[in-house]
Amino acid sequence: MASTAVGMLFAIGFYAAALILVLGLVWKIARYIITPAPLKIPVTPAPVTWAGVPVRLGQEILFFASLFKSNKWIWIFAVLFHAALLLVVLRHLRYFIEPVWFWVALAQPFGIYAGFAMVLGLLGLWGRRFLVDRVKYISSPSDHLMLALLVMIGLSGLLMKFVSRTDIIQVKTFFLGLLKLDIQALPTDPLLLAHLTLVLILLIVFPFSKLLHAPGIVFMPSRYQVDNAREKRHIVRWVAKMMKQMDADDTAAKQAADQA
């Protein structure tokens, strides 16, 4: 059973959410880019040339290198969740493209079981918020809600795949239509609508929440800066201006004192 009205409702929802997501991220990332880093603050040992920076960041992004040094439990759950999420997202690409690309088709079986790994990783991370007194102390309601949201997205997806299937052909028709501004009917199974609603919420809160760690990781001066302070003078506009002003003020004050 599919409904055009429901299709219309979710189409509006997805257009709005996509707009908020994109504008929100552009706004945030633009500010990360334009805000200057006044001093050289790479955490050392750091690369001494630019060539080393992608290596350093790559290790962090792909392997969570620092987290591995830090805490093996968090690392296991975090890698499990993020790697699984990647596979799940890749798998979902099939609903947005026709014909389905070769490698997306290849990712299908992995993506399906990654759904379980994703939920497992999330539950591990969530469990720490109750079981480890230090992590419990630093958790605010939003930290729990974020995990709840992701777990429910995962669970509703898995239920649709393994328990109560929806009309996936029609879902794909809806999303292909969405991309061509041609709004189609959407099946009205409660699980599907719950799944999609939760995803809408995720897209909307992304730019206003700690999910900003995703773009943030490449804007960390402690990690992306090159360790070459002695070789190359690092100077940003406001610091140069401030120093010039201070030096001028002092010279003027000294002259006034000399004359007096």
Binding site: A37, S66, K210, G216, A229
Partner: protein, 498 residues
């Protein structure tokens, strides 16, 4: 006296993170700067009506000026990786000394005034109004951070609590709530030229005294020059080196190295301080003001190179910021990096065979080395990453026969702060300093037990002073702490140059 009341925490069953003790350090309150100290630095003398808004405005100003602050405040996911990494958390068990909790004291205010979620649903995202209670927490706990960056090494994103602490202190200074210890010292540097307030004539006296001591002891006339125009090297060293024990023995070591190398050098009475305490206050303005003294003297004296003495945060400011704050140094000899570390200088001489060291002079010692936090994680020595770890060790090993490293989890970039850095080396924070030294003392105990270590060498005036003070609380002798260059100085064969 204080020792009767204050006891060091017991060693842990290494390395388990200790359980939380909420409020364990909420009484810790470093002395507040007097209005006079504040006004010397062009900051309000005390809190005045409307400080709440001014604090929020200053935070907004810093967010525009400092990318790190903005990204760090947004990106933390509260994963908990940093929670057991801070020496103050380990030593005090106060949850607000966990790096993420310390950040959250400021992050909660950032969220309230600068994020949509914090404006709409403050309770949900842990956003808080800028109130007196919040400010009091800031004052207490941002003065329980030594800006040592250990948490940043372990953060999956590299969020550096030091940057947040500096921002919070900068904001507090700008609303009239400064720390007495740091701000009084910054004022002294502006007026007199060094942290100790040691005027030029007293400095000359002290250095002459050192010349006599060395002459008596070795029979060699080693010079300790002050304000010599035309010297090759301007030595900028922490003022503690001029007479505090044990740093002064390090200074004697530098003097012997220069003597043996036959390179002329001088200290300056105008820029007689390497440590730039404005770093602790998070003030780029004040940092510049202190740093440019060095440039001025270097130009006036016509030196060829600038060398810094053993000092941790000082080396951070020198290595990472001096070029920014007082550069460009194109008037110096381009053959040498600006600035150079005394250990780079000595290391180079050893490699070239220009120094003759007899390590058997130190055969009564088994030595280990404490990596200073800001040297390890905020600077470098030599040309390769990690030179800040190898070069001091190579120099020490050239000067002693018995060297052993502490637990690898507590050295190099994972080193623990001594517990006294970041503007906390003051008697009114003694309890914090003793407790914060716990993880370093545990690691030291291990090598004392396993290898009979007798001395711990350091390359920072703050580490040296802090250890001299806290070692006895852990039943070690205070003279266990030694300058790297004291070892060098004791091993140098003076006058036997080929």
């Amino acid at each position: 006296m204080a020792k009767d009341k204050l006891e060091a925490p017991a060693y842990r069953e290494f390395p388990s993170p200790p359980p939380l003790r909420e409020g364990a350090m909420s009484h810790m309150h470093t002395f507040i700067a007097k209005p006079a100290h504040q006004e010397d630095l062009d900051w309000p003398g005390e809190l005045e009506d409307g400080w709440e808004q001014r604090a929020v405005d200053k935070l907004g100003d810093l967010l525009k000026k400092n990318k790190a602050l903005r990204v760090y405040l947004d990106s933390c996911v509260k994963c908990g990786a940093c929670t057991d990494k801070c020496h103050y958390y380990i030593g005090t068990q106060d949850p607000k000394n966990m790096p993420v909790a310390r950040q959250d004291l400021l992050r909660s205010v950032y969220r309230r005034y600068f994020t949509i979620s914090g404006k709409l649903v403050p309770g949900l995202v842990g956003a808080r109004d800028m109130t007196k209670d919040v400010l009091d927490e800031w004052y207490n706990y941002y003065h329980q951070c030594t800006e040592c960056r250990r948490c940043s090494v372990f953060c999956p994103y590299g969020i550096d609590t030091a940057e947040i602490t500096m921002a919070a202190r900068d904001i507090m200074n700008h609303i009239g709530l400064g720390q007495k210890y740091s701000n009084e010292i910054i004022g002294k540097v502006h007026k007199i030229g060094n942290n100790l307030g040691l005027p030029g004539p007293a400095l000359v006296d002290t250095m002459e005294g050192l010349e006599e001591d060395v002459l008596d002891e070795t029979g060699v006339d080693v010079k300790f020059p002050v304000d010599v125009h035309g010297a090759d090297v301007l030595l900028v060293t922490p003022s503690a080196d001029f007479f505090a024990e044990p740093p002064v023995d390090g200074l004697i070591g530098y003097g012997k190295v220069f003597h043996q190398a036959g390179i002329s050098w001088t200290v300056s009475s105008y820029a007689s301080e390497a440590a730039n305490f404005a770093l602790f206050a998070g003030s780029t303005e004040q940092m510049h003001k202190i740093a440019r003294r060095i440039r001025k003297v270097a130009q006036e004296f016509g030196v060829k190179r600038i060398i810094f003495g053993e000092c941790g945060h000082a080396w951070r400011v020198a290595y990472s910021f001096l070029n920014t704050l007082a550069g460009p140094f194109d008037f110096l000899d381009p053959k040498y990096p600006v600035p150079q570390h005394i250990l780079e200088f000595t290391y180079d001489l050893i490699n070239r065979g220009a120094l003759k060291l007899d390590p058997s002079a130190n055969d009564d010692k088994v030595v280990t080395f404490h990596d200073s936090c800001n040297v390890a994680r905020a600077s470098r020595m030599g040309t390769r990453p990690g030179g800040q770890f190898n070069i001091p060790r190579e120099v020490i090993k050239a000067a002693v026969n018995n060297y052993v490293d502490m637990n690898p989890e507590t050295i190099h970039e994972k080193t623990f702060c001594c517990g006294g850095g970041g503007g906390l080396l003051t008697d009114d924070l003694m309890e914090l300093r003793v407790k914060g030294a716990l993880p370093r003392m545990e690691a030291l105990q291990e090598v004392v037990d396993s290898h009979g270590v007798t001395h711990i060498a350091a390359i920072c005036a703050i580490c040296k002073t802090q250890f001299a003070k806290v070692l006895p609380y852990y039943d070690f002798g205070m003279d266990m702490i030694i300058s790297a260059h004291q070892l060098v100085g004791d091993a140098i064969q003076l006058g036997e140059k080929e």
